[in-house]
């Protein structure tokens, strides 16, 4: 026999000003099953919680209904309170009479009527509530970080320093990511290599970190605490255990015309290569697309000069299967393809470059040794035009199909480029065309103002309409509009630099599918809560680090990387995970094997299995039935409403309970 207690909260004046709380408590008294009801000013306070606890003990309550704020706010608080006196926490029900009632109504009479209805619905559900117990699963104490840029490296280091094993999977032959390609960093102008390469060494030497470079994740199975991941180790054709990175093979390789992606294809490398001198791991890789031996069978020079016999032309891709407790996505970004912005003549002139190419042109380790020159003729540029927001902040009707968001870092790196260029060549004329200059951040606006005020960079609010390579002068004719002076401008430029939009790395979308982690329409991973859970995916056990979650500069990336690591450490430090008992389960006798629940499940929690059933006539029959993995299920309920036979039900929110609530509201 149910004995239900109803506790109506005033929430100060939040509820009490538009709901007659005493009337709600009074109305509860006449609802069948309710044996006690009362109201109190702050039910969530210690005194309020004690009132509930005392009443449970005094009146022998079996179920508790609290009429208060949203269950998102204080359900956990009240559940904990009743659990402390030995009541199953799932016997407690919250009726939301604040967010969904008092806050949206002005008329007290109407508000009270609605609060009573919501109270009755909660009582009806509570009548059917049954005790639920959460199960637990063990935790594999090893983390996987996907991506070896600054985000992935920082996350891995922080987890490893806490004493847990971490593996980094990186698609490139070396870790380091985009930051290793940058010349200097804003706003301090410290050398990017000088701060990132020591970090790479630290990662490489850390006893708790294993780097799988030149590798990819190809399959993810399992669930939080118990992931099984397949890692494809692409064939390097060089034995990692033997190569010393001496570079003799690279020197002798006759295949010289391979575009060097490390230098944004501004120069060439060999078919066997180490991306750059500080690579980690410093191991040579043969590029199978260009190697003469692999493509024609003739050559083999590298094998002859290798002192440690590390070259193996017969190498094949290898696959590893490793278990992890947590996975961190740190897949980073890439620049959009600017060739569709043909008005800027990127495809027609080598002197039109992207910002990342410009970065390499200024880097001491770049193709020009840090001597900034025009790619076309090697001359020093006298006039440079920077175009902002190429592909960022585009409206829906734009024919380019660019990104709606702001890429966030372009305003700052353009100011950096302008200042560094002026430092190289003080007499250079620099124009920056912008929509808005966005420089919030510590010392950011001061930095931008320095470019304008001290370095005399011409910032022009406006847009470039056309860049025309001029065959006669060898320059770029830039046609632009100054929107403040309402003037047309013609600028003869030596170089044009495009601040192209940054987009999530192309590997992010397939990875999200493997991880069953939600993404937004721009292919950024979605965080579990925009404000309160910014480094976790909605999928349990998946964490987000760096640009893959949204545009970020380096300090923000490092902060988020550390936050993601803290969450992973919190998970890995547990021996087992207590699950949420409000999960779906399937009545196997009612299941017709249609697979609809499996198709709608966003978490991959439902699988089908062939199972033997003993029928009433004592024969056995093999039937295909759904089975829910309670450790993966997040209790969203999508399967229960999809199931045509009513076999699927959600514990804590059973079909019966929901119907009872609806009946209480409508009948």
């Amino acid at each position: 026999m149910q004995k239900i207690g109803v506790f109506v909260c005033w929430c100060g004046t939040n509820i009490a000003s538009t709901v007659d709380v005493k009337a709600v408590a009074e109305a509860a008294k006449s609802v069948p099953g309710v044996v006690f009801s009362t109201d109190y000013q702050y039910m969530c306070s210690e005194a309020g919680q004690n009132l509930i606890k005392d009443s449970v003990l005094t009146y022998g309550l079996t179920h508790v209904v609290v009429c208060s704020c949203s269950p998102r706010m204080h359900e956990a608080t009240f559940r904990k309170a009743v659990a402390s006196i030995g009541m199953n926490p799932y016997m407690l029900e919250v009726a939301n009479i604040r967010e969904q009632c008092s806050w949206v109504h002005k008329d007290k009479e109407v508000g009270t009527e609605k609060a009573i209805a919501l109270m009755k619905a909660a009582v009806a559900k509570a009548m059917l509530n049954t005790p639920l117990t959460a199960g637990s699963t063990p935790v594999t104490k090893r983390a996987l970080v996907i991506g070896g840029g600054i985000a992935g490296m920082q996350t891995a280091l922080d987890i490893a320093d806490a004493g847990f094993q971490v593996d980094i999977v990186e698609t490139k032959p070396t870790i380091g990511g985009k930051m290793a390609q940058l010349d200097k960093t804003f706003p301090t102008l410290d050398c990017s290599s000088c701060i990132v390469t020591p970090k790479m060494v630290e990662v490489g030497q850390h006893p708790n970190i294993t780097i799988y470079a030149y590798s990819e994740v190809t399959e993810v199975k399992g669930f939080v605490g118990q992931f099984t991941v397949t890692i494809k180790r692409k064939a390097r054709y060089v034995d990692e255990s033997k190569c010393t990175g001496c570079g003799a093979c690279i020197e002798k390789c006759p295949m010289k015309k391979v575009p060097d992606e490390w230098n944004m294809n501004l120069n060439n490398r060999k078919a066997i290569y180490i991306p750059f001198a500080q690579a980690v791991p410093k191991i040579a890789t043969i590029d199978p697309a260009y190697c003469l031996k692999l493509n024609t069978g003739k050559c083999g020079v590298c094998s002859k000069v290798c002192g440690t016999n590390a070259i193996n032309y017969e190498a094949k891709d290898e696959y590893l299967e490793v278990g992890y407790g947590a996975i961190v996505a740190a897949t980073g970004y890439e620049m959009i393809d600017v060739s569709k912005y043909d008005e800027y003549a990127y495809s027609n002139s080598p002197d039109v470059v992207t910002a990342l190419e410009y970065e390499r042109l200024m880097s001491a380790a770049g193709p020009t040794g840090g001597h900034l020159v025009r790619p076309s003729d090697g001359k020093e540029p006298k006039t440079i035009v920077f175009i902002q927001c190429v592909g960022s902040r585009e409206t829906e009707d734009s024919c380019h199909g660019g990104k709606p968001y702001c890429s966030k870092v372009c305003c700052m790196y353009t100011a950096k480029h302008a200042i560094l260029t002026k430092d190289h060549y003080p007499d250079t004329d620099i124009y920056v065309f912008y929509i808005d200059v966005r420089t919030p951040g510590k010392l950011f606006d001061e930095f931008y103002r320095r470019a304008v005020e001290q370095y005399n960079v011409h910032y022009i609010k406006g847009a470039v309409g056309k860049v025309t390579p001029n065959a006669e002068t060898g320059k770029l004719d830039v046609q632009a509009a100054d929107l403040l002076l309402m003037e047309q401008l013609q600028i003869e430029a030596d170089m044009v630099v495009l601040a192209a939009a940054l987009e999530p790395h192309r590997s992010a979308r397939p990875l999200a599918t493997m991880l069953t982690a939600p993404m937004d329409t721009n292919d950024f991973f979605t965080e579990a809560h925009a404000k309160l859970r910014p480094v976790e995916s909605a999928t349990a056990g998946i964490y987000l680090s760096g640009f893959c979650q949204g545009p970020k500069d380096i300090p923000e990336t490092v902060s988020q990387a550390g936050a993601a690591a803290a969450k992973v450490i919190g998970l890995l430090s547990k021996n087992e995970l207590v699950g949420n008992p409000c999960v779906a389960h399937s009545d196997e006798w009612m299941c017709n094997g249609c697979s609809q629940c499996e198709n709608v499940c966003p978490y991959g929690a439902i699988t089908y299995e062939e199972k033997e059933f003993r029928m009433p006539d004592r024969t056995t029959k093999i039937r295909r039935v759904a089975s829910v993995n309670p450790a993966v299920c997040q209790g969203c309920g999508a399967c229960t409403v999809t199931c045509p036979s009513g076999a699927m039900d959600l514990r804590g929110f059973t079909n019966q309970e929901i119907m009872a609530e609806v009946d209480a509201l409508c009948l």
Binding site: K340, Y341, D342, E343, A345, S347, N348, D397, C399, K466, V467, T468, P469, N470, A471, E472, D477
Partner: protein
């Protein structure tokens, strides 16, 4: 294949060559045109205001004719093409315009129209329906050795998500045609910029400056001739072309010349 043909006002007087040479060339390629009876001026410019329904009606009447006869609607003039194609897009995608325009159509006793007709420009007909390979075979007098620059202007390609003819910023449809006719296509940056258009009525200096920039760029890139499909571009460029020595022609003129239908057959039509 039979096409409903919308010539447009200019093609009947100032730009006769565009019309006559185009018809002759298509005849030689085995394509029949049915000129829409009682066609009316397209309006010259696409009405940007949402509530201007009346001046969209002439385009809709032409589109409706093509739909009724189950023929694609062919245009040769860039401006007509731009107006008709944009209006067709409105009728397919904009409920407000469609409902109000169809209310007018109902008064004329016609069924509602919802953008069903396919609008093709001569260039699209040659590229997609005939095929440049086939066209190349039909060329009797290849324009070998000629250096020709295509001039797209602004109307032919934009707005690109409606016109869907080619990449608006780096088009190739006219260059490919020039190559199919045996000439060398000169690619120059200004080929898809505005010539100044109707501003010639308000301030002739603007089209003059624009024409000079375009002609200088084309000449520096090696073009001896510029071809266009737009009578207004033709007018603005031709007025200022003398100094540069660049010849300005309609693209149908070189088409007819290569197919060797210029003259007798052109006059017959």
């Amino acid at each position: 294949m039979v096409y409903s043909y919308f010539p447009g006002c200019t093609l009947k007087n100032k730009a006769k060559e565009l019309d006559l040479c185009g018809r002759a060339a298509l005849k030689a390629l085995g394509i029949s045109l049915e000129e829409i009876p009682e066609w009316q001026c397209c309006g010259g410019v696409y009405p940007l205001s949402h509530d201007e329904i009346a001046i969209r009606l002439s385009s809709i009447r032409a589109l409706r004719y093509a739909k009724q006869h189950e023929q694609p609607l062919l245009t040769m003039c860039s401006a007509c093409h731009n107006v008709i194609k944009q209006v067709n897009h409105d009728m397919a995608s904009d409920e407000y315009i469609r409902t109000r325009a169809n209310a007018y159509m109902a008064q004329e006793g016609y069924e509602p129209y919802a953008g069903e007709a396919r609008v093709v420009h001569l260039l699209e007909l040659l590229r997609d329906d005939v095929g440049y390979d086939k066209l190349k075979e039909a060329v009797r007098k290849p324009l070998t050795g000629r250096k020709i620059g295509a001039y797209y202007g602004c109307l032919l390609l934009r707005p690109s998500n409606v016109m869907e003819m080619d990449n608006a910023e780096n088009p190739t449809i006219m260059e490919d045609l020039i190559r199919a006719l045996g000439a060398e296509a000169v690619v120059y940056a200004q080929r898809n910029e505005c010539c100044g258009g109707y501003l010639t009525l308000e301030d002739p200096q603007i089209p003059k400056q624009r024409a000079e920039v375009i002609l200088r760029n084309a000449k520096a890139s090696g073009a001896g001739m510029i071809v266009t499909a737009c009578p207004l571009c033709f007018y603005n460029l031709k007025r200022h072309a003398a100094e540069s020595g660049v010849e300005i022609r309609y693209l149908t003129e070189i088409l007819a010349e290569a197919l060797d239908v210029r003259g007798s057959e052109a006059e017959e039509v």
